[in-house]
Amino acid sequence: MLEDIREKLRMDNEPKESIDPRARKVWMIGGALGSIIVMAIALGFYAFVTIVYGAPDWVGWIAIALALVYVPWGVYFHPWLRMRFWRYELRENELEIQHGIFVIKRHLIPMVRVQYVDTEHGPLMRYFGLTTLSISTAATKFAIPALPKQRAEELRGEIATLARVSEEDV
């Protein structure tokens, strides 16, 4: 029964590779930092509304309650679900990327359409040895977040070789 529902929530033929499990840690830490900010805003709102404007207490409590709902989402559920659906697969002629939580998106990018491949990483990602790989076509841009540094550089090389210059259009 549970398996049935799970099956329905999935899109068929998922791309093969998941991203590095360390990504979840990065997202969790990011979510925790975000939660602190959200909490601070809610407390600030509480203080501002009740003390400065003298509004009833419950107005401020609503803000704090909303912030409290956000904390487990940001720290646990969001990174977990995001990790759950993130998939990518590099084939000879194309790259397929899948991501999303409520709306799952799956992108198909033929190698001949790839214009640039970049790698980039923030301080937190660097600490965990992770890198974001972004792939641009003439019209769209995609990113595979949190690949091991080594793997990202390999992929960048592979994609760059596979992406041949196409003469048929721009």
């Binding site: 329905k8 929530l9 999935r10 899109m11 068929d12 033929n13 084939r91 000879e92 002629n93 194309e94 999303g100 409520f102 709306v103 799952i104 998106k105 799956r106 992108h107 198909l108 990018i109 033929p110 190698m111 001949v112 359409r113 076509t137 003439a138 019209a139 769209t140 995609f142 196409s166 048929e168 259009d169 721009v170």
Partner: protein, 475 residues
């Protein structure tokens, strides 16, 4: 190869004239702020200020004209410009995205045209903007830029493979159904509101008094009159803008020209063409008429430059034949995959929700203020539901050979024809409910200047969506 040339000297006068008109108010402000005693009162001041400005701007424009030089040869145009800071630029044929010429009334009087050459760069303006060259010169530059060094000028003029013109009756039909009158109506209403402020109170009182005595019908009549007036005006503007419309197909490009007062000529090279769009506005659909547009890579950032008009008015039945003659690379699909039955309620839901929220607000507000007749707002559900139904019925996709055809409605009914090689990436997506219902949204991204653009079709059956994906996939 040509020698280094300047543009027509009349450019100095044209620029000065244009500058003066926009700086007139500036000169008047200076004239007012100067003490009366200097040049003999306000009139004297104004004359002197104008003369000084005229002199300065003539000098400036003269220098600019004098130091703007261009030279062209096979497949290349060089530009050298700048009085103090020199700038040189070379544009090669394979970087050119489009070349346009146009001429306003003044330019036409002197047989001059503006030639704009655009490249794939990110800049908004045309890379080369020659604003006063003779028609022959413009043709010669174009010919040189397009020739590959083999063709010489003595070779006979290239004959188009096919061409289409807009007939006299059709242009009026196009003008009347363009739907632009809504914009103009708001402009007319705006002017009316602006003028309204300056009408003295006395007349206003009189008007209100007399208005209160005339029946409601007269008021409605005035509104209808304004409406008809703006409709007629917009139709005339449309006709002036698009009269003499013609599109000609050459081996490697389309040449489109239109306009009476401002003659425009656009060249779209075929390999820059990314998609063909057949559009049916709500006013045109009942008559079986549609507009054809092309999406082109490269060009300016303005909306009207991004999408070029391929034909302002064509009968739905004739689209097939038009494509066969002008763009045989594209075709209308023979059959297409429609949306599954279970997608209907999602379409109805999407179109009704905002309207339902609006109705809810109105009913609540009316109840609050104790106003009657709030139930009338429920009637809004009828157009919302029929729009949703029509969106559902018109959604379809088809893949044949190397072309995908997407049909969908937002307000206008749109059919988009794209080649596989022009799709930059393809995305399937599904939210929670779509996944449970085995439905997918298909999105096609392609290049249309200055950035990418995409078209999508919602709630396609998952298997049909997968087959589109497989068609696009190269593995």
């Amino acid at each position: 190869m040509s020698d280094l040339r300047r543009q027509h000297p009349l450019l100095v006068l044209l620029d000065t004239g244009r500058g003066l008109i926009s700086n007139l108010s500036f000169a008047l402000i200076i004239a007012i702020s100067l003490p009366d005693s200097i040049f003999g009162g306000f009139v004297g001041n104004a004359i002197v200020a104008l003369l000084v400005m005229f002199g300065l701007s003539t000098l400036f424009n003269f220098l600019r004209w004098y130091f703007f030089l261009y030279r062209y040869e096979e497949g290349m145009v060089h530009i050298r410009q700048g009085v103090l800071f020199k700038r040189e630029r070379t544009i090669k044929r394979d970087r050119v995205q489009s070349m346009n010429t146009n001429a306003n009334v003044l330019q036409q009087a002197f047989g001059l045209v503006t030639l704009q050459i655009k490249t794939a760069g990110v800049s908004v303006d045309a890379e080369v903007n020659l604003r006063a060259v003779s028609k022959n010169e413009a043709e010669s530059i174009k010919a040189h830029l397009y020739s590959n060094g083999v063709r010489s000028e003595s070779e006979p003029v290239e004959v188009p493979r096919a061409s289409r013109f807009l007939q006299g009756r059709d242009i009026w039909l196009a003008a009347l159904t363009s739907g632009r009158f809504m914009v103009l109506f708001s402009v007319v209403a705006l002017i009316y509101a602006q003028v309204f402020e300056y009408i003295p109170q006395r007349y206003l009182d009189q008007a209100v008094e007399s208005l209160s005595t005339i029946p409601l019908m007269v008021g409605i009549g005035i509104a209808a009159g304004l409406f008809l007036l703006s409709w007629a005006l917009s139709a005339i503007v449309f006709v002036i803008q698009f009269a003499n419309f013609s599109v000609r197909r050459f081996e490697d490009r389309l040449e489109i020209s239109w306009g009476v007062l401002k003659k425009s000529h656009a060249i779209v090279k075929l390999h820059r063409l990314q998609a063909v769009v057949v559009q049916q506005g709500p006013l045109r659909q009942p008559f079986g008429l549609c507009t054809m547009l092309v999406e082109v890579a490269g060009g300016g950032a303005k909306e009207q430059e991004r999408i070029s008009l391929l034909h302002p008015l064509i009968r739905r039945k004739e689209v097939e034949a038009f494509l066969r003659d002008i763009l045989p690379e594209y075709h209308l699909p023979l059959e297409s995959v429609v949306l599954p039955k279970r997608a209907m309620r999602r379409y109805l839901f999407r179109s009704t929700v905002p309207v339902a929220a609006f109705i809810g607000t109105i009913i609540t507000a009316f109840y609050f203020w104790g106003l009657p007749y709030s139930w009338i707002s429920l009637l809004l559900l009828i157009p919302a539901l029929s729009l949703g139904l029509s969106r559902y019925r018109n959604g379809s996709i088809s893949v044949e050979d190397d072309q995908v055809t997407l049909r969908f409605r937002y307000v206008s009914l749109v059919q988009v024809l794209i080649k596989r090689s022009h799709i930059q990436s393809l995305s399937l997506s599904a939210n929670l409910f779509q996944r449970i219902g085995k439905l997918r949204t298909v999105q096609l991204s392609f290049l249309s200047s200055p950035a990418g653009k995409n078209y999508s079709l919602k709630d396609l059956d998952a298997e049909d969506a997968e087959s589109v994906r497989d068609w696009y996939s190269m593995n």
